[in-house]
Amino acid sequence: MTTLDGNTALDGNAAGGDLRTVFALDVTAATGQCAGCGNTGPLGSAQLYNRAPGLILRCPRCDAVLVRLVAAPGRTWLDVRGLTYLQFATEEDPG
């Protein structure tokens, strides 16, 4: 796996808390398709860059930006144009 600038990237898992401030579902287990290269995978396996005013999720294959989430007092911006879709599991839990 490569990172854009050294070892600053984390896994998308770590974005779960901030994403859950705007989504009612766990997004880290949802499958997303990269609009850049067509790669599909759980957002939890995307690369997270969060040493910035917001957070950025990048495609683990082509490094394209998938999601940007920026919060300011009283407002939050969400940009998901780097994804062609998000697929959520909706079966009932057998347990």
């Binding site: 990237a9 898992n13 770590a14 779960g16 808390g17 909706t90 079966e91 839990d93």
Partner: protein, 246 residues
Amino acid sequence: MARAAVLGRLTWRVATVAAVRDETSTARTLVLDVPGWPGHDAGQHVDVRLTAPDGYTAVRSYSIASVADGERIEITVEQVMDGEVSSYLAGVASVGDPLEVRGPIGGWFVWRAAQTEPVQLVAGGSGVVPLMAMVRARSAAGSGVPFRLLYSTRRPESVIYRDELQGRASDGLPLEYAYTRAAPDGWPRPPGRLDASLLAAATFPPADRPTCYVCGPTPFVETVADLLIAAGHDAGRVRTERFGGQ
């Protein structure tokens, strides 16, 4: 939308430190009572928020170490150099102190008892915490799924959960330590980084099609994930959780 998938927006809850346990000279476990805690799966984490008197806040993610147990959770925090949150949690917080937490978080780096495939756990340092939750969850569920744990650590005295791991190894959990700085007397390998040969010797082969969970500092996780995939493991079954040194 199915009931199980709808979680609702996440809110901060005020937890209380119920107990503190030293694990090593730099790591300790905080037992937290969290009113309204909805339960969790092994591998999930919580965000912890500290607020200074001037309003400055800092949020960090910590893996949950314990299995679901009502409104009680445990996190194990390793103190990192200049860590503004870890220094407080690993060194200052005491019984009765309030902490803001939100969670549980995450659905990808998670092991559930319904899984039937073998599980390979690879820990670097305090990356053992969510993997310990998986070991405990397997035991609590009475699951017979094969687990193996490869735990890379600097030296013998930096092993977290040492006594419990010893007990679980005696009870049949295949457990291998990889020491990077100093090994016990008489240890068969000199201290050093995990490499392909040790990984091959101490983990399930790709033919067993295990799900691999790798957790640790970013460079460790990168190295191990690359080695596992190079050895023939399917990248889709190598799940990773990196942590930065904040």
